[in-house]
Symmetry: C2
Subunit: 325 residues, 2 copies
Amino acid sequence: MVDVAREAGVALRTVSRVVNQDPTVGPDLVQRVRAAIADLGYRPDERARHLRLGVTGTLGAAVRQLSHVNPVLRAVERAARAADLMVLAASTEDDESLERHVVESMCRRRFDGIVLEPIGDDHRYLVPELAAGLSLVAVDRPVLGLDVDCVLSDNRSGIEKAYRHLVRHGHDRIAYIGDDERIYTARERAMAFRGCVAAHGGPLGTMLHTGEVESGRIREAVRAALSGSAPATAIVTGNAQLSVEVLRHLGADAVDVALIGFDDSELATLLRPDLTVVAQDTDAIGSTAIDMLRARIADPATEVRTVTVPVELITRGSGEIPPAP
Amino acid sequence: MVDVAREAGVALRTVSRVVNQDPTVGPDLVQRVRAAIADLGYRPDERARHLRLGVTGTLGAAVRQLSHVNPVLRAVERAARAADLMVLAASTEDDESLERHVVESMCRRRFDGIVLEPIGDDHRYLVPELAAGLSLVAVDRPVLGLDVDCVLSDNRSGIEKAYRHLVRHGHDRIAYIGDDERIYTARERAMAFRGCVAAHGGPLGTMLHTGEVESGRIREAVRAALSGSAPATAIVTGNAQLSVEVLRHLGADAVDVALIGFDDSELATLLRPDLTVVAQDTDAIGSTAIDMLRARIADPATEVRTVTVPVELITRGSGEIPPAP
DNA sequence: CCAAGCTGAGATAACGTTATCTCGAAAGGT
DNA sequence: ACCTTTCGAGATAACGTTATCTCAGCTTGG
């Protein structure tokens, strides 16, 4: 920048003015500065700019896996772009210590705000960051024990919708196969399912299976649910990956057992019958997260909120299979 | 930092030394400084650090869609992490102007290097950046017309492997359904297919269909390939998304027509029969990209290279269906 | 016992920007 | 013709770090 100023025969500040399109520069000087910039191949340095300005115009997104399908992240990027903010994303790989590393790196880089898919139950490392003014919004799962903005799907009502839908189609032995209950969403969904069974007056028995997503375990869960004296006639799964696994193990039985999956996916319309799902409103989640983050950045005193986004039951066939006589 | 120094009664430089674990600080001072840091909630500012240091320890990844499955990106993140570099990623959404925006933003932020999945044919905007010392490696597709490091899959040999495999299983009317040939990989694969047909002595006729991935077009292409007096008995698809679409339109015929897809995916083992695919070595692509980028950062004079990573044919059933009599 | 070396810590000057203040000159009003 | 206003552009001082140089106080060896 110094070189550009010298080359153009102007003051440093004038180069800055030209770069920032300040209208108070005479057209002849603008020309000279522009020429000098092109001549010398000058590239502005945002590090210095951000340092001076205080803000970075950058949001961080710390998500479970960048290289997985994540429609919420897409919505986050779009909404941020519309607000002229750059989103830079990194994976946490479902690893608490990696999450911490990523978030702290973003803080040290003074990102204006962070969208986080939190992992685990212990987020005490955030306390000093929040005290220092970090703007953060959690998506998909809450940050337990801390007063932090949060956007969640209505997991409970999703399970309830699925359950009621199956009951309405004549089922009364409905099984649930879910993820490890150490994960917040898995816990919520499993609890909601227990609630449904209790409300319906049935015994839980072999109707609920949760644990890690592992092919052998899922096979066993499917087998257990469908065997015995009172086999299930319908299955609800706890996430998209589980739907795939359950379908894999159902094999030819897929046309006889009703199935509702949690989470929509492109697979849903590829299979036969097409998969009935509880779909999250990922666009709403993403754009709400950015709205809340922007509000907090604009005014750190904004009241902390948790927004719950409704889910929708999309009927496509697999959930409307009647119970076997 | 000034406050910490005052609180601890030491010089600024000593605080810096403590933060950076410089061993030449007496243990009592370390204590005092640590205490002051905790007391005041001091957070180091990487912007200033990077500005002073010159390097940022950060790599950018500009990919088509963060929220799509992208095993190369996962490998890139892992390899970078192993080298103690942070990867920050952003989507280009297959939009040339967005790519430019993203890459230029990363340059202005002085990322040490960029991994880019290039879009389109015109990358002249990179010329001044490269001249200014940008370290860049292109993955999946080359940067046309510019001398830039590049990691590609061996698309041609992938198609040839698929074609030969089908011929070996008795097929001699093999159709190809591919993506828009404006896209480099689609072009390479389609050209390779033309080469195979020519080498095999057959007429191309209705055996090659390329264009945008659009459900109607794919349906038509499948219909055209399988009808007429000499219908195809096998299909090769140009990418994972096309495999899904082709399977959707094949419907019940899926068990009679041999199919080999380009790109492995989790769907491949869900469908019946399991999908035979040409799989890219995404781990090798990602780690090679990081290796090359690090080499270039370390020595900008490193000779520019294009590395072609071998692909593998994984037989699972769908590619071994014999031709209908 | 003193010169030479070592060691821990401070003072100062960058890194590349932009906000603020200042100032000269041109324009406009009486 | 003089005073005031406006406007364009420069000088200077931050923003928060770290590298370099300096120096006081100890060792150490002849």
